[in-house]
């Protein structure tokens, strides 16, 4: 097991650098005119153009700039954004918001999603099953932007239940977390339901019932454990995508988190910021996936890692 973990950690390092290279290449390839993109509609002064070109080595080739970037990373210097703020302080301000938002959303998805999925699977064909199907449809049929604005309008303005925009406290993050988790919730419900249904029909479940074990024990201990494997995979993946995918929600609710910062950096072709944020996000994915794989071994003793 230890060898497995160590090997994965080593692979993480390779993936990290691989990603920085790929993303850097993508930003490089996307270059229209990053300096003009920064300025928006007004023309950029020749002096500022010269200054930024010098500061970011914009007139040098790809490999020079990539080497420069990696060198800075290794020294712990994350560089500056195109507006000359240190990226490290930008991220330090943004991460806490996104972590709280994604964390809350994850809690909703796990508790409500898996719970509802189990119920729907156990009571297959019932009213609850139909209700979850309907919910899934609403969530898929309506893009997250529309859901976000609708939710904000109905619950924030009409019913005044939640604040419309972020006010720095945890309460104002609840509505955005709910909306953020909605699509993941729908998928989690359906996935859990499907695997629960499958496992309920499996021989071992029938045997357990025949042996006289109560239905609760059969479901809660045996079926659940096996059903959770694909679900855990899915959830592990979703946590990471929740963070980057929070762009729209962060925008609508005025939460200055990582997703919003990333979207703005992409829009203004702020290469250094984009690459740094994406690289850090990839590390988060890798760590989460490692945790998920380790969790497999706990859930299903038949799965062994050399």
């Amino acid at each position: 097991m230890v060898r497995f973990v160590v090997r994965r950690l080593l692979q993480m390092v390779i993936v990290f650098f691989g990603t920085t290279l790929v993303v850097y290449a993508m930003m490089f390839g996307a270059q229209g005119d990053p300096i003009q993109a920064l300025a928006g509609e007004k023309p950029v002064s020749a002096a500022q153009r010269a200054y930024l070109t010098e500061h970011f080595h914009l007139d040098h080739g790809f490999w020079y700039r990539y080497a420069d970037y990696v060198g800075g990373l290794l020294r712990g210097d994350l560089g500056d954004t195109l507006t000359l703020r240190p990226i490290s302080s930008v991220l330090a301000g943004a991460w806490p918001y996104t972590l709280k938002l994604a964390g809350l959303a994850m809690v909703v998805v796990v508790v409500v999603g898996v719970g509802a999925g189990v119920l729907a699977g156990v009571r297959r064909g019932g009213l609850f099953d139909a209700a979850t199907l309907a919910l899934t449809l609403v969530v898929i049929g309506v893009p997250v932007v529309v859901l976000g604005f609708l939710g904000q309008y109905l619950l924030g303005i009409r019913l005044r239940l939640f604040p419309v925009a972020n006010e720095g406290d945890l309460y104002s993050l609840i509505l955005p977390a709910l909306l953020l988790g909605m699509l993941s919730l729908a998928t989690a419900v359906r996935l859990t339901r499907t695997t629960v249904v499958e496992n309920l029909r499996a021989d071992y479940a029938k045997t357990a019932r025949a042996k006289g074990l109560s239905r609760t024990r059969v479901v809660g201990v045996h079926v659940l454990r096996n059903s959770l494997i694909p679900v855990v995979t899915f959830l592990g993946v979703e946590l990471g995508s929740l963070m980057a995918g929070a762009v729209v929600i962060e925008n609508i609710f005025n939460i200055p988190g990582v997703g919003f910062t990333l979207a703005r950096a992409v829009r203004t072709e702020d290469g250094p910021t984009v690459v740094t944020i994406v690289s850090l996000l990839v590390i988060v994915f890798l760590v989460v996936n490692l945790a998920v794989d380790l969790l497999y071994a706990v859930l299903d003793p038949r799965i062994r890692y050399a």
């Binding site: 993109a37 023309p43 020749a46 500022q48 301000g93 005044r160 419309v164 925009a165 200055p256 829009r267």
Partner: protein, 539 residues
């Protein structure tokens, strides 16, 4: 017992002192309620806050609170001295600026000629990379600080055209006479900076931009919380007119619609810009707390001169006649903008209505006839940037052209303007017409005519070039008086009506809404909320 009596006496003393202090506040009476209340104003995240580097409207709004400009503008949009005592010249070329005494920066440092010279030299020096650097180009000696080869070192670090006379007087020598110079001085590029802004090497001191020290009616209460807010409070030692509110929070929003929702729930006090889709319901939502004021915004359609499809001036005029500007203003903008029939904004001295003439009057029948006669293309395209909220009106315009001219019209989105510009530079075919906008830096016709229409103008992305026009504008800016200059500018504008290089569409207004918590809200020509007049309701 003793302690209690002593405490009581102290309390009485404190209350008495407090009341006394409150009473002796100065001409604008300061009540306790005022000092506690915070007025919140919605802005976007400024890119920079150093005046010589600030070009966006959010930054400009914050600087309007923190600094006092040399001139402000009266009801006719003519410059009047503010921090300057007088600005005079005999030949529109050598200007003597005298400052009012008694102004100090928020750290106690007095405002002197050096405060201005220091800041202007910093902004004009090429290697400092300030975005407002071009505004110093009119001052003599600029070329020495900005060599044409960006890698070469400039031969000087200060402008030779700036001369200090004494602590409160300095002289500015321009490289050519420019009668509108006093108006230009109202632009934020010309604001002063304290000595504390710079470090030993002459660069901006670390951390200064996050906690600016200015000379205006408000000072920063806390550091700039990026993407969240900038908080300011009244500067009590201010020598000019004091504001009526004690504290202002500039709340930073990523999305204007969210800011609008916050204003609706009275969580945000003032929003100086209503998103277009909300214009239709703004009157119902806010009643008489939804207002307009004149602004200098100008929206137009440009034709790339390299595209042969539009090279015939009659084709361009036909297209202009086929657009029903009034319908778009009514349906898309709920009447909050004004149809444009001239080439410069109505807020400028020298503006005349309808300079465009028949070509800007809606006449679908004549348009179709003219279009057919001049062999207009069967398929037209309007390109626009998707990130500016323009989709609705561009599509509506396209539909009008399709119906009225019998052509196929495509409204093509580019992700942002920066994606369109290289295509124009490379003369890529198929771009069609494209949408552009302009907002003034200061109220002068020259501030439109030069960047938009002169050969090589900074915003002339379409390549229009008319030597006669260039000459008229150059002559105009060198006139000794504003009136003489305007006469020549107007002649130049008449040439535009003849050549039709762009189609004027609309003039913008400032649309703003405010909550029930504030009163006396107004927005000036630059789109900035008037911070001196605003009050908290009920006081």
């Amino acid at each position: 017992m003793h302690v209690r009596r002593a405490t009581a006496r102290i309390v009485v003393a404190v209350v008495a002192a407090g009341t006394l202090a409150a009473c002796t506040g100065g001409p604008a009476t300061v009540s306790a309620a005022d000092t506690a209340a915070v007025v919140s104003i919605g802005i976007g995240e400024p890119t920079h806050l150093i005046p010589t580097n600030t070009t966006d409207s959010s930054g400009a709004q914050v600087l309007a609170a923190l600094f006092t400009p040399l001139v402000t503008f009266d009801r006719n949009n003519k410059p009047v001295p503010a921090q300057a005592d007088s600005i005079t010249a005999t030949d529109s070329r050598v200007w003597t600026i005298r400052l009012k005494g008694g102004y100090t920066f928020h750290n106690g440092e007095p405002v002197t000629s050096d405060s201005y010279l220091r800041a202007w030299n910093f902004g004009a020096y090429g290697p400092n990379g300030q975005d407002n650097n071009p505004y110093f180009a009119k001052i003599s000696g600029y070329a020495a600080l900005n060599p044409t080869d960006p890698k070469a070192t400039p031969t000087a670090t200060t402008l030779s055209g700036l001369r200090r006379i004494d602590a409160l007087t300095f002289q500015v020598v321009l490289s050519a006479p420019y009668s509108d110079f006093p108006a230009a001085l109202g632009y934020l590029a010309f604001l002063p900076l304290p000595a504390a802004a710079f470090d030993a090497t002459g660069h901006i001191a670390r951390g200064f931009e996050d906690q600016l020290v200015g000379d205006g009616p408000f000072q920063m209460r806390d550091v700039w919380a990026h993407d969240q807010s900038i908080e300011v409070q009244r500067y009590d030692s201010y020598s000019g007119t004091k504001p009526k509110v004690g504290k202002i929070d500039f709340k930073i929003y990523q999305d204007l619609t969210t800011a609008y929702s916050d204003a609706l729930t009275n969580t945000l006090d003032v929003l100086p810009g209503v998103p277009t889709p909300n214009l239709a319901t703004a009157a119902k939502d806010f009643g008489n707390r939804y207002r307009h004021s004149p602004s200098s915004a100008f929206q137009y359609l440009a034709f790339p001169t390299y595209d042969p499809d539009y090279s015939n001036v009659n084709v361009r005029k036909a297209i202009s006649m086929a657009i029903d500007r009034d319908q778009i203003v009514k349906s898309v903008f709920a009447g909050s903008q004004i149809a444009a029939r001239s080439f410069v904004s109505p807020v400028l001295p020298g503006y005349r209505a309808n300079t465009c003439g028949a070509a800007c009057q809606y006449n679908p029948v004549a348009a179709k006839e003219l279009y057919k006669q001049s062999n207009g293309p069967a398929k037209v395209q309007i390109t626009y940037n998707a990130d500016g909220g323009h989709k609705e009106w561009v599509e509506a315009t396209c539909n009008q052209l399709a119906r009225n001219l019998g052509v196929k019209c495509v409204a093509q989105a580019e992700a942002k303007l920066a994606d369109l510009l290289p295509k124009l530079q490379n003369k890529t075919p198929g771009v069609g017409m494209f949408r552009l906008g302009w907002v003034m830096d200061y109220p002068s016709m020259e501030d439109y005519l030069t960047p938009l229409y002169s050969t090589g103008g900074s915003a002339n992305y379409y390549g229009y070039s008319n030597p006669q026009f260039d000459q008229l504008v150059a002559q105009g800016s060198q006139q000794p008086t504003g009136a003489a200059a305007i006469r020549l500018y107007q002649e130049a504008e008449d040439l535009l009506a003849r050549d039709m290089p762009v189609i004027p569409l609309r003039f913008g207004q400032n649309d703003f809404v405010y909550s029930a918590n504030v009163s006396n809200v107004s927005v000036d020509l630059f789109g900035d909320v008037n911070l001196l007049d605003i009050t908290v309701s009920g006081t």
